[in-house]
């Protein structure tokens, strides 16, 4: 702590107040190293977990609000807003302080909709999604796609949570070489300890923090990639490979040596689509598009891909399949078992079965021959008050299950 005219007692009493109200953030709050700075408008963090504090701001802000600011600033660091800002900027080729201000605002929206209340006062002038006419509970990246700098944001032009919030270096930053910074590994360790604390006793932790803690070190995989991986891996081995069945072209030059040759045997893929009312057209459409793309990518021929829809009204499936040139086979009830049975009756048999469903169906008793991938549309299932212990049927263990959407 640099000596100065700052009311340290007030600043640290505020931190103590914050720790008492948010004990699960104690490690992170205590890990912040404070630096007194007159160039900072309020309080700001850098990516090395230093917290720059303006003495004038400490003087004019009530202690309870100051505690809210502590939690707000440490939230930027815990949620890696600087890293995410950098990635977003690189991905969308955004430059300039205006864009970084937008990132700061979006990051603030992500934090402010769920950190205050419950003993912690919202600091005056804190950005709210509602003040930008946006819905609450979204991520910084989502907010960034929804607003531009304009009249709604004009009031926040002074906003500055530092390089720890938006990734843009400030002239007051002490930088990577300065004293008391945390290395990348130390930062990860602090975030991990906080996440572990929350996961260990999630009881009175708000939902937003619980979600963060679960995903802090394992961000959820995009289902498209997962579905692609599952289908690809179901197909590998069924596709092209080497075999000793026929002599290789190279054999002529090497008498006496037995060479394998590459022989193509693309897999037959059958997609069973549950088109019952509970599956939305949009979900189905995107899932089917992915499947078509995957099948194309693995070199599947159109005549080897068939789609079987399990419902009466399946216009999405039909249109898509027509557009993609995939032949449609038959129809059936909403019971996927009939679909599986029909696939197995097919001649020749499918090597890979992909089932897209919301899971509200009985499953076949026996494992079908070939590999099976189940794309499961995830949704909040309504709780049946008469039968709270009702568990929906889960996909069988023999299928690779990917949660879609």
């Amino acid at each position: 702590m640099t000596a100065g005219s700052m009311d340290e007692e007030k600043l640290f009493a505020a931190r103590l107040h914050a720790v008492r109200n948010r004990p699960y953030l104690a490690t992170a709050l205590f890990a912040l190293h404070t630096v007194e700075s007159r160039r900072v408008p309020t309080m700001a963090v850098d990516r090395h977990w230093r917290c720059y504090v303006s003495p004038a701001f400490v003087d004019r802000t009530p202690l309870a609000e100051l505690a809210g600011v502590w939690v707000h600033e440490v939230s930027h660091l815990l949620r890696d807003h600087h890293g995410r800002s950098d990635r977003f900027a690189a991905e969308h080729e955004l430059t300039g302080p205006g864009e970084r201000l937008r990132m700061n605002i979006a990051a603030d929206c992500e934090i402010n909709d769920d950190v205050f209340g419950d003993g912690l006062v919202r600091p005056e002038g804190a950005v709210q999604p509602a003040s930008l006419r946006l819905r609450e509970g979204q991520l910084m990246e989502d907010y960034l796609r929804q607003f531009r700098l304009g009249p709604y944001t004009a009031g926040y032009a002074w906003l500055d949570c530092g390089s720890g919030a938006d990734g843009l270096d400030r002239d007051w930053d002490l930088g990577a070489d300065g004293a008391h910074g945390l290395s990348e590994q130390e930062r990860d360790a602090v975030r991990f300890r906080v996440a572990q604390g929350i996961n260990g006793s999630p009881g009175d932790v708000p939902k937003g923090w619980q979600r963060w803690a679960q995903e802090a070190f394992h961000p959820p995989q995009p289902w498209r990639e997962l579905l692609g991986a599952a289908v690809r891996s179901a197909m590998s081995g069924a596709g092209e490979d080497y075999t000793y069945g026929r002599p290789s072209r190279r054999s002529a030059g090497l008498p006496g040596v037995v060479m394998p040759s590459l022989r193509r045997r693309p897999p037959r893929v059958c997609v069973i689509v549950d088109t019952s009312g509970s599956v939305s057209d949009a979900e189905l459409g995107s899932a089917l598009l992915e499947i078509a793309a995957i099948v194309r990518a693995v070199g599947g021929r159109r005549d080897l891909v068939s789609v079987l829809s399990c419902d009466a009204a399946a216009h999405v499936t039909h249109e898509l399949c027509r557009a993609e040139g995939i032949p449609l086979v038959g129809g059936g009830g909403t019971d996927l078992r009939t679909g599986f049975a029909q696939v197995q009756r097919g001649n020749p048999r499918a090597d890979v079965i992909v089932a897209l469903t919301d899971g509200q169906t009985p499953w076949p008793e026996a494992r079908p021959p070939g590999r099976t991938v189940v794309g499961l549309f995830s949704r909040q299932r309504p709780v049946d008050e008469n039968n709270p212990h009702y568990e929906p049927e889960v996909p069988p263990a023999w299928a690779r299950v990917v949660t879609v959407g």
Partner: protein, 407 residues
Amino acid sequence: MDIPSEAAHLRPLDVAADLLALLHDTDTEPRADTQLEALTLAVSADLPVLLWGEPGIGKTAALNQLAEALELPLTTVIASVHEPSDFSGLPVVGDDPATQGVPMAPPEWAVRLARAGHGLLFLDELSTAPPAVQAALLRVVLERQVGALRLPPGVRIVAAANPRSSAADGWELSPPLANRFVHLQWAHDHDVVVRGLGGTWPKAALPRLDRGRLPDAVTFARRAVCGLLIARPGLVHQLPKNEARRGGPWPSPRSWEMALRLIAFATAADVSRDVLSMLVRGAVGDGPGLELLAGLDRMDLPDPETLLADPEVAVLPERGDLRQTVLDGVVAAVRRRPERVRWNAAWSLLLRALETGAPDLVVVPAATLASLRRDDWPVPAAIERLSGAVSLSRQADQAAADAGEDR
């Protein structure tokens, strides 16, 4: 045949060669490179490394630098353009297969490597090779067996694969195979690329093992891994539930042994925690790796008993959260064995903490320590000086009370 005259006729490509030479003429500058240090250590530790990275990201350039640092000749084999027999050996039918068997002849590069006795074998594009080639290759990577030939121990192997998302015809690593690799994510650094294209490439000083530290490094690594696994038996073997994560690093006795080896190497080479973090997480996965690293951080903290024995010379950690952990530990030690001398020593430590760092850290330990007082222990005079912390605590209480009234 015409002999060219002195005023040689310049062929068009001669000028091109001059231009190419100018383009090749680049500088290097020293720059710390965490991922290259991690790779060097894992290769020194003789563990199979799998580099995950997009094509064209500079994996080959890194391998060149590594080979130079380890003083090994580099042999690159592009897996996807080979046939399985290039790795499992070509069956050569001899005179009498019934009695002599059919030998599996190794390819030329393997013979060359075996003859040299040492070298760095880089198996590139593992993920785009057909499954049979991959199967043959994994034998090379894990058992060092190329057909009938066994690669000597001096040969080190590194493989590279494209991440699942970018490999259209990619493959998933099966969990047992994934468990045998140290997974390193290879990413490019924007600054390095831009500066490099401008003519200055980085030159990393790669870690070297310090012979004098070897025994300590082994003790340290064993203590770290065993300490964690005694406290968290569930971490010994944990197959990830998520399908996609099974193809990456996950904890098992085998990967813990790799982690142990990596810690010993990192300690002997005295590399930064960032490098160690990359290695350990690449061996046992993010969660268990971070727990291990947190354990290492705690091993670095001063022992409460040592602090209590001599509070006047105690050095408390600078970082607030670590300091809090130490102070909590000190108070807990007094609670375990409450004696007047220890109680007084703990007060001196709290005072030191107050004088050298943020005051709010002291509040909770001070309150707990005060509650441990026995009736016949006089209040030490030093407590007076803790009044700052008390008033700070009172301010926070007031804020909480105000908030309560507002509600």
